[in-house]
Amino acid sequence: MGLARRIIPCLDCDNGRVVKGVRFVDIRDAGDPVEVSKRYCDEGADEVTFLDIAASHEGRATTVETVRDIAAQVFIPLTVGGGIRTLDDIRMMLNAGADKVAINTAAVFDPPFVRAASERFGSQCIVVAVDAKRVADGAESKWEIFTHGGRKPTGIDAVEWCSRMVDYGAGEILLTSMDRDGTKEGFDNQLNRVVSSTVRVPVIASGGVGALEHLAEGVLEGGVDAVLAASIFHFREFTIEQAKRHMAARGIEVRL
């Protein structure tokens, strides 16, 4: 026995409320982020990820306040993402109580920012979030980095990008399949497998979880170190504990 695979519930937040989600047409309110985080922690979540989906300038103060409230009551690691563009943004979130920050768009437009961030704060708190979209199928499968919620192609190969981000000091990769996100059809495990076997840092799979078996598949087929899901937990379709029991029954080492 050794290191457990992690289950990470993700809170997509807009103006201080948990919503789901970025790519759903109707944004359903799923509650108060502090209450929801506490519930996840009690159910046995291994970490919590908080994403500020609007990441507007005006909403920033609310986000900092929420992060501070969560950190004062939830004693598991907390990752904060959405609108992290400067070293000051990172410092502000870490000071509010975040353990890690997720950098997404800023990494694409300014890759040296990832290096500066990891040198200043340490790789252990720098997660690079990668939104990848499939552009070729089969044995020659390829994925490309997209920005703006999956609308804008960048021409950057997703797998090479992940390696580059690790070289720049990313301590972890949060890998979202834009093809699967919001579909409830399960992860793109071919993508997960390729990235996970390429980079030396932990990979978190995201995008597409609609059933407990999808979480298990991420580990068994995708080879990832952690699985992230939002909507299946928000509306209490499943608890974290149910998810863990399911994974354990599939032979995956988890923290129960």
């Binding site: 026995m1 050794g2 290191l3 457990a4 695979r5 992690r6 922690c41 291994d46 950190a71 004062a72 009551q73 004693f75 598991i76 690691p77 870490l94 000071n95 509010a96 109580g97 975040a98 353990d99 704060f121 340490g122 790789s123 252990q124 708190c125 301590g171 972890e172 076997s197 030396r200 840092v201 932990p202 990979v203 170190d225 952690a226 923290r255």
Partner: protein, 218 residues
Amino acid sequence: MSTLAVIDYGMGNLHSVAKAVEHVARELSLELEVAVTADAQIIARADRVIFPGVGAIRDCMAEINRLNVGEMVAEAMQTRPVLAICVGMQALMEYSGENGGVDCLGLVPGRVRYFGEELRDAAGVWLKVPHMGWNEVRQFREHPLWEGVPDGSRFYFVHSYYIQTERDDLVAGTSRYGKEMVAAIADRNIFATQFHPEKSQKAGLRLLGNFLRWGGEA
């Protein structure tokens, strides 16, 4: 009212550990004043001291040396309970292989080594570095800080370097990640953990509570 000083030498997030001990003190109805500080006088007066740390050892040691933190810790561990966490624990050792090699405080015998690029488990599966997540900790010996913490409990780790010591008598807990490693050290008034008790939910909070009630010397 008892006092606890969390030594702040400007590296990383000390909010977590301060919040966690404040939370535990409330749960246990202990009157506790927590100061996050580098002030030598406050640290010298505190009933208990926490020596945390995150980030790269070279930067940490530079600040530790600049602020004379080594002397404060050395003095504290003579007389009062000290809890060192993660890089705080590594800084207590003699030497770290990180950043091309850095001399540490030498308050506990042992060295800090890199996991390596080709770390594999018993089945030959490639292991990621950093070692990040919840791993089981085997209690190598009894200690007041383990009280009420089931043997084999999982704690949260995040590190790429691990501790080796020839002094088996100082090892309080071990974990396995490709190799056997020291997860906790106990030496008189000092208890040190490679994992983060402040991020390890129930098991971690229990350990912090034990620290708040521990008078030192096991």
